[in-house]
């Protein structure tokens, strides 16, 4: 049951071969809603001090948790709460380990990965279907976010490592090994975050994927079946680990 709900922004970032990003201002108490089936790279800045940025490490350590979900906060380096996750319909984990890819990263991955049909071991991100050097996207997330954030004069090296929404990363707590474990869901999931301060927010997506974005005003957020996120689902049936992973049978 919404009261005085207004949709201030409602758009879909269409798929493109080089990925894409958008940036926009958010006012305290507004809701940012991200919808998709694949990684949405999310960063945020204190609108009144653009040096104060979303910080992966503070977000992990202040909550002693690597996988944010409904009920989690996103923190700045100064331990200030930027956003609260109020809705999460994604059935797996979101990621706070990986950083911003660049063209350079994609070239390194292409050289390391080998042909497309050999990339099932989780060592490279899903959807790396490039067969030829010419097919490597011209830009990674960092270039796309930098272009989107240019009006605020934020240079690429000032963009923090992101909150990787819908990126299910496996982590072995004993060996420390990480692997990409994308579930390829049939249906879109939604993460909604409430701004706890005035922000500049930027969202990026990878090549060939699409992301929906909304900026909403009004309270309370809608109750959605399954919106309680991965934490409430508890120890869900573990996904079959990719071939070659340390957990494969």
């Amino acid at each position: 049951m919404w009261t005085q709900r207004r949709v201030l922004l409602d758009r879909v970032m269409p798929a493109s071969p080089d990925g894409a990003a958008v940036a926009f201002e958010v006012t305290k108490d507004q809701l940012v809603r991200v919808a998709g089936t694949s990684t949405a790279v999310f960063v945020a800045f204190n609108r009144h001090n653009l040096k104060e940025r979303f910080d992966q490490a503070r977000t992990r350590n202040n909550q002693r948790c690597l996988y944010p979900t409904r009920g989690s906060w996103l923190f700045t380096k100064d331990n200030t709460i930027m956003l609260a996750i109020v809705e999460d319909t994604w059935g797996w984990h979101h990621d706070l380990q990986t950083g911003l890819c660049t063209r350079k990263t994609l070239e390194l991955l292409f050289r390391r990965a080998g042909p497309p049909d050999s990339r099932g071991d989780g060592s490279v991100p899903y959807a790396m279907t490039w067969g030829r050097w010419e097919d490597i996207p011209a830009r990674g997330c960092r270039e796309n976010l930098a272009e989107a954030l240019a009006p605020w004069e934020i240079p690429p090296w000032e963009i923090p490592s992101p909150f990787n929404i819908f990126q299910n990363l496996g982590i072995d707590g004993e060996t420390g090994r990480m692997w990409f474990d994308h579930p390829e869901p049939a249906r879109e999931s939604v993460v909604t975050m409430r701004a706890e301060m005035d922000l500049v927010v930027a969202v990026g997506q990878h090549w060939g994927t699409t992301t929906g974005l909304q900026l909403l005003e009004g309270w309370p957020p809608p109750t959605v079946a399954g919106g309680e996120g991965s934490a409430a689902r508890g120890a869900a049936a573990p996904r079959r680990p990719p071939v070659g992973s340390p957990r494969a049978g």
């Binding site: 940025r53 690597l66 100064d78 390194l108």
Partner: protein
């Protein structure tokens, strides 16, 4: 090779302080401690290029580093190679830097301090007066200030000798720094600079001893 190796610099950093040193490409720094040292690095010729936890983990697809691994920058360049690691447990790249504000929120129970072997989220201090006046963030920022680096631009460190326990299924994280023998004797990590660097280290709060560094040149 051992006979050509020269010690070119030594330093000792007291508890609750940080310090910075310039390294030339090819020099090695040995960090000798018995408690956590928060360690950061910058490209000496472009201080916007700095140690990056996320790129270091992503480019090697691992969350724990040891001998043979490298430390990456935010530009995907290798800053350092870990050449020797005498710490029998894990180093950390999940945590950031502690600070006065983090101490206060921990004391108040507003942020978590889950510690393996202890219930809940215990505060390390019983009284407000015992909360330390600063943390690694202030200490590292002060150490690199002569190079005009903003405190906001001190990167999340390589937290040497800080063993954290991770549950990969639930994502839960605990401090776990009481392994057998931990804190009783010096251990070390040695890293080789793969470019000219500014490096800095600060003592974390899990002990009161100072730490030492030695810089070697072949």
């Amino acid at each position: 090779m051992a006979s050509r190796r020269r010690l070119v610099l030594e330093d000792e950093v007291p508890f609750l302080l940080g310090r910075a040193w310039e390294l030339g490409k090819g020099q090695s720094i040995r960090v000798i401690a018995r408690h956590t040292v928060d360690f950061v690095a910058f490209n000496l010729h472009d201080l916007n290029e700095r140690l990056d936890q996320a790129r270091t983990k992503t480019n090697q697809m691992k969350v724990f580093l040891t001998a043979g691994d490298v430390v990456y920058s935010n530009e995907d360049n290798v800053l350092l190679t870990i050449v020797e690691d005498a710490w029998p447990w894990h180093h950390d790249m999940q945590k950031g830097m502690c600070s006065r504000k983090r101490h206060e929120t921990k004391f108040q129970g507003l942020t978590k301090n889950n510690t393996w072997g202890r219930e809940g989220s215990p505060s390390p201090w019983r009284r407000w007066e015992d909360v330390p006046p600063r943390g690694c963030w202030e200490n590292l920022a002060h150490a690199v200030e002569p190079w005009h680096i903003s405190p906001w631009d001190v990167p999340n460190p390589l937290n040497l000798f800080q063993n954290m326990r991770i549950d990969g299924q639930t994502g839960q994280l605990w401090a776990d720094d009481k392994g057998p023998g931990a804190g009783e004797a010096d251990v070390f990590v040695e890293m080789r600079a793969e470019m000219d660097l500014l490096v800095a280290g600060a003592n974390d709060l899990d002990g009161t001893a100072s730490f030492r560094i030695e810089v070697y040149e072949d």
